[in-house]
């Protein structure tokens, strides 16, 4: 297990990377990245069995970023792990870049699956877990990060049924429960609660955690991985966490900060 202080510092780098990348591109979803920076950081840098020297290892753990719009945070974590260079991050969303607006498995080393249309990632993760089971890679775990808004897609619940039906103990879903979607709060637009009870009734182990608490994430992700049956971690988060102009506020989905606002946000993050 990685030292928590070190990991917290690296997650801080993911936050500042995501701000710089989206402001540089003047496009992207910084608030969504700030919501899940710790979740992605702990997964990629501490939990997952992955090796940049063996990116195609069939026994490796896999990660599906179902909320593909948080790609900058993912790319930052992959750069910190050594899959891509730190210099490359500035190329986000420009023509010819390996760093697409949403993850592309054929362009970016370390990306296990292409995403961007919401609601599909859990099914993909189930497919990976079924394949690993069939191939005898019994330790390989598939992690999938979903936004809370995308739980309104019916396919997520088809997949939730599939995972419990097939007893996929090596599927771990994490829900970035920041309560916000494009047009308002999830409970205003189409209520998700009682979310924990919903997953329990679908046959899942349910864990709840503060999605910005690195030490707690380190612990709960291991518990979920080792549990019997599919596990979901509902991670309470703040969209735009750490940047006061956008934290917890609606109308910031898919909006980059201006150069000046980004400078202020970076100062705020370094406090």
């Amino acid at each position: 297990m990685m030292d928590t202080k070190t990991l917290e510092s690296l997650c801080g780098t993911i936050r500042t990377d995501a701000l710089r990348m989206t402001t540089g591109a003047q496009s992207g979803h910084p608030s969504s990245c700030l919501s899940c920076a710790e979740i992605i950081g702990v997964l990629i840098l501490d939990i997952m069995n992955i090796d940049p020297m063996k990116p195609e290892d069939p026994c490796r753990d896999r990660f599906v970023l179902s909320k593909g719009h948080a790609a900058p945070a993912y790319y930052s974590a992959l750069s910190l792990k050594g899959f891509i260079s730190r210099d490359e991050l500035a190329s986000l969303r420009s023509v010819g870049s390996r760093l697409q607006g949403h993850p592309d498995m054929n362009k970016t080393p370390g990306v296990d699956f292409s995403t961007g249309s919401l609601g599909m990632g859990l099914s993909v993760a189930n497919g990976m877990a079924l394949a690993c089971r069939l191939q005898g890679h019994s330790d390989a775990t598939t992690y999938v990060l979903l936004g809370d808004g995308e739980l309104q897609e019916g396919q997520v619940w088809e997949a939730a049924m599939s995972a419990s039906h097939h007893g996929l103990s090596r599927v771990v879903a994490i829900i970035d429960r920041n309560m916000l979607q494009c047009d308002g709060t999830t409970e205003e637009i189409k209520a998700l609660e009682p979310l924990s009870a919903k997953f329990q009734s679908f046959g899942w182990n349910v864990f709840e955690v503060d999605g910005h608490d690195v030490a707690a994430l380190q612990l709960v992700l291991r518990q979920a991985r080792d549990a019997t049956g599919p596990s979901v971690i509902i991670a309470a988060t703040v969209k735009g966490k750490g940047v006061s102009c956008m934290a917890g506020k609606c109308n910031w989905h898919g909006k980059p900060l201006s150069s000046d606002a980004c400078d202020a946000a970076l100062r705020e993050c370094s406090l």
């Binding site: 069939p58 896999r62 599906v64 592309d104 498995m105 054929n106 296990d112 699956f113 292409s114 995403t115 961007g116 249309s117 599909m120 099914s123 993909v124 993760a125 189930n126 497919g127 990976m128 877990a129 079924l130 394949a131 690993c132 069939l134 191939q135 019916g154 396919q155 088809e158 997949a159 049924m161 599939s162 039906h165 097939h166």
Partner: protein
């Protein structure tokens, strides 16, 4: 002797499963109709009945393919691609994963289940995905060979099968190459391009036309991607008059593909026969007559042109 093309799929899939343990099959509660049940009985560990959840099925198959398995995905053409197009586009075509979609019950030849079950748009949908291979076999032998072909073809593939049993058009003792179109009957006055179930009516029409002194060439366009440009230009040059006949909408199907190509390669007058409206319940034969796909409809169109 009439044979069901879906049984040929079941047989070929079983053979592939015996040959390669990476082959898996997924179905959405229609395995008795699609014939994936034969594979399921032989290889229960590699058969996944996903229930009535086509979107989940497609994305799950994509996840499997990303880990090196060779999934065959089956249900009715109404649902794959109809119910699951975004999943096909995002999870399979965009990452170019080797998933084979073998969908059955295409077109109005499904018959009495009616318009809800007449998939007349599937080829149009699949054609928009730039790397999707598209096959529309016309008989038991071509269906069988196509399944073996797509198993290790380079890109994701869509194979459209129909419900009814039909006579063999190709010698079951001879190998069939699904990678190009096939001239089933030579002729000089008019070329009839067809595919799938309609091929049988097209051949019948050519026989009737012969009695009128009209020499009709019949070409089985059983693959739409890769597209057999050479055969089409040769036919346009030879006859100068073209009819396309398909058990599918005229909007975006095989006939549309022929027109798109010829309009720049060798501009030729093309008359398209196909479905132009939502349909209704009825026997396949009655529907073919009413919606203008029968041999008589083809004959009438050929007489107008020649």
């Amino acid at each position: 002797m009439k044979v069901n093309v879906r049984d040929q799929y079941g047989k070929a899939l079983l053979e592939l499963g015996q040959r390669d343990e990476r082959v898996v099959a997924l179905d959405a509660d229609l395995s008795n109709s699609t014939k994936t049940g034969m594979f399921g009985s032989a290889f229960p560990d590699r058969f996944f009945n996903m229930g009535i959840s086509e979107q989940d099925m497609v994305s799950t198959a994509a996840g499997m393919a990303s880990c090196g398995l060779r999934p065959f995905v089956s249900t009715f053409c109404s649902f794959v691609p109809g119910r699951s197009f975004d999943q096909i586009r995002m999870c399979v075509a965009y990452p170019d994963l080797k998933v084979n979609f073998v969908s059955t019950h295409g077109g109005i030849s499904v018959g009495k289940d009616g318009a809800s079950h007449h998939a007349n748009e599937d080829l149009a949908m699949m054609r928009t995905l730039p790397n999707m291979e598209i096959y529309v076999p016309s008989d038991p032998q071509s269906a069988y060979a196509t399944i073996h072909h797509v198993y290790d073809s380079p890109h994701p593939a869509y194979v459209r099968l129909f419900r009814d049993s039909v006579e063999y058009l190709y010698d079951p003792e001879e190998p069939f190459d699904p990678s190009h179109s096939h001239v089933l009957r030579e002729g000089d006055d008019v070329t009839i391009f067809t595919c799938g179930y309609s091929t049988h009516d097209a051949l019948k029409a050519a026989g009737i036309l012969e009695g009128d002194g009209i020499s009709a060439q019949v070409i089985d366009m059983q693959v739409l991607r890769p597209f057999d440009e050479k055969t089409i230009v040769a036919a346009a040059k030879r006859c100068g008059r073209i009819i396309t006949v398909e058990d599918h909408s005229v909007y975006g199907g095989m006939g549309g593909r022929v027109c798109e190509f010829l309009s720049s390669a060798y501009p030729t007058r093309v008359s398209r026969l196909g479905v132009r409206s939502f349909t209704e319940s009825g026997s396949p034969r009655d529907l073919y007559i009413k919606y203008g796909l029968s041999a008589d409809s083809i004959v009438k169109k050929a007489r107008e042109l020649t």
